[in-house]
Amino acid sequence: ETLRWARAGDSLTLDPHAQNEGPTHTLAHQIYEGLLQRDMAGEIIPALATDWAVTDDPKVWRFNLRQGVKFHGGEEFTADDAVFSLKRAMKPTSAMKELLASVADVRKVDDYTVDIETVGPNPLLPNNLTNMFMVDEGWTTANDAVEPQDVANGGENYLVRNTNGTGAFMMVSRAPDEKTVLKANPDYWGKGEFPLEVTEIIYTPIQNSATRVAALLSGEVDFIQDVPVQDLERADAQEGLKVVKAPQNRTIFFGMNMGDSDITADNVEGKNPLADVRVRKAMNMAINREAIQKVVMRGQSDPTGVIIPPFVNGWTAELAAYPTPDIAAAKAMMADAGYADGFAIRLDCPNDRYINDEAICQAAVGMLGQIGVTVNLNAQPKAQHFPLIKNKETDFYMLGWGVPPFDSEYVFNFLVHSTTDKYGSWNGTRYSNAEIDALVVSLATETDTEKRNLAINKIWETVQSEQLYLPIHNQILNWGMKDNINFDVQPEDQPHFKFMTFSN
């Protein structure tokens, strides 16, 4: 079966180690494989490694490789290739190196066995290997591409436009941003293990969402990612089409600068209204999350009171509880805090990053207006939005955060710890609490799971009582496709087409 597939963006490069980015990985996953992979449910399953375990030395993981696997070019996959690929992914120009930061060494044991030694014990290492693709050593070296493409420096190498993986599909042709054609790999090792019903993939990025939906509705494509929420119903209702959904590992929320004594984005002189927790609570209370869910998101979101989705370690139902909107009570709290007449503030918001991001912000403008907070909305492309947060140039902003390792620590490191060299790079709240910082740091080395979870709980309690963030909802992923396609939504938004089946 030929599958015509469209999504908003295109892969940025074909070099599998040059970009750590969703759409780029999605395409790479069809062509290349790692030692491990996540299946359509997000579970880790064997790929080029058949099994793996920590050795006696808690710092060393041993991987047994699959035998008889051939690259598209015919070369056999061996431990040399695995060592070469992992080392390549750790090179300075690699975008994957942070994921392997804990790796001290990679060693070939025999032709089909590889050891990975980490700096300290790292029970989560396999989580970081699912996007770590294997390339052929001989082919890569022969084509002078030992160093991954130097994206930052505008570099280019052979792998940027040529592929030679072990995956289920092989490249036929590619015009970036326009069209990519793949065909089934006749010698794929997974025959019998995966459905492999797709024989050809025609991949067209369609950025404009209306056009993308139109393409699906008119039958020009079979499968699209990122269906606009308003068109879900129509697409679902249309004869021959269906939409499948799954919660995504990403929470949308607003951040507030509570740390500075005065802020520039407001109209209050000499004071920072956001520094008062009553104001933050009042604002939290003014947000009508259900209205946003019903109207803006058309039900395609899970309103939440905490900035992590449920699959993440540390999440509890109590944390996720959110107040019912109560304008009167919120106003009272504002008055309490000395802002009976409200204040004005600028809200920075992306308009091309999250599902209906700008519309959510607009809705918030109206809701906050009802408790006297006059919000000036500044919606702009992500390229301009994110630097504001990183450079601490915004006092009130929208952000969405995914948690690939499925653990709260990841969130704390980036969003709760005060900003230092290593931590808190995305903490736009300027929140700084030495005690909490110490707790966050301790999580990395705490091996006792219970103690660790207690610490996590403690941190979350503080975050919630301080109302560091105004959480809105967890996003829901949805894919639109022909009725005869059987495919579940993958929580990382990664369709692996070798799993796709058709019913006729």
């Binding site: 209306a210 308003q230 129509r234 308009n351 607009q362």
Partner: protein, 308 residues
């Protein structure tokens, strides 16, 4: 003072008025335009809601179809509501205000700038002419969209974020005006060179009139005909340009939507059956631009002595 009635009478008897009374197209277009303009000007008085005040919006009213009660709030809206629960009718009226204001102001700006430069270039010739026309050449190299994006980029970099919403309108006016002045300048320059060589200008020089007095007292009134036509057509162009820019997201701010912003928003809901969000603003925009264009077209013919 008896002359007012007399002048009115003269005006009504004039060729233009005569042609007007004879042209059903011109009359219809004027009526439509007048209705739209009145709706725009009086919007704060006659619009059922104030869509620009976010605090009055109820998000739950979002996506209410025309003339149907909202499923959560039970409210009914003549033309339905948009994604933010704004009454589409009121929003169109307020959006018209923006579109018309931007259009008229941009045309005035372009006309004043273009006419002045055109007069100077045409009257003085020489290096004044060269400089003005070379600037015009460069200007025309950039189509209006690019000019607008450019000005937006610059304005965005230069203005504080708080001021942007207010600035947006002025930036629109500036960018559309800047992309249109060339047409006025070229036309007026040409007409001025023709007028300048006419003997009445020599007569005025003999009366020791200053060049400025001649330019504005003598030449200007005689080149206003084409300027009027350009202005009318330019108004339609400016309205469309504003809509396009707002559609591309560099125009009116989303909290103060113009017709283009409304269409941009509405386009997302075209395929799922919520047609009214796109349809009514689109029809309004079309009606506005069309009526202005029809008027301009008619005016061009009516002012052309050879077609009379």
């Amino acid at each position: 003072m008896a002359s007012f009635n007399q002048r009115l009478q003269t005006a009504l008897d004039s060729d233009l008025a005569f042609a007007f009374k004879r042209s059903p197209v011109a009359m219809t277009a004027t009526t439509i335009f007048a209705l739209l303009a009145i709706a725009a000007v009086l919007a704060p008085l006659i619009a059922p809601y104030n869509p620009f005040d976010p605090a009055t919006l109820n998000l739950m009213n979002g996506f209410t179809p025309p003339m149907e009660a909202n499923e959560f709030t039970g409210q009914t809206f003549t033309l339905g509501t948009d994604d933010q629960g704004r009454d589409v009718l009121s929003t169109i009226m307020y959006g018209l205000r923006i579109s018309l204001f931007v259009g008229v102001a941009a045309v005035l700006f372009a006309a004043v700038l273009g006419v002045t430069l055109g007069l100077l270039a045409g009257y003085f010739g020489g290096w004044v002419d060269t400089v003005v026309m070379r600037i015009a050449d460069v200007q025309i190299t950039f189509p209006s969209i690019l000019i607008a994006m450019l000005i937006f980029g610059v304005a965005k970099g230069l203005t504080p974020v708080e001021a942007r919403d207010e600035m947006a309108i002025w930036v629109l006016i500036l960018s559309i005006g800047l992309s249109e002045w060339v047409y006025y300048a070229r036309t007026v320059r040409g007409a001025t060179m023709v007028e300048k060589s006419k003997e009445y200008v020599a007569a005025a020089r003999l009366a020791n009139r200053s060049p400025l007095a001649i330019m504005f007292g003598h030449v200007l009134p005689n080149v206003m005909g084409p300027v009027l036509v350009l202005g009318t057509i330019g108004l339609a162009l400016a309205i469309i340009a504003e809509a396009t820019l707002s559609y591309l997201g560099v125009g009116a701010p989303p909290t103060q939507p113009s017709l283009g912003t409304l269409i941009r928003v509405g386009q997302d809901y075209l395929f799922n059956g919520e047609w009214w969000i796109l349809f009514f603003p689109a029809v309004t925009l079309l009606a506005l631009a069309l009526s202005v264009n029809l008027l301009g077209d008619w005016l061009r013919d009516a002012l052309n002595p050879r077609l009379r």
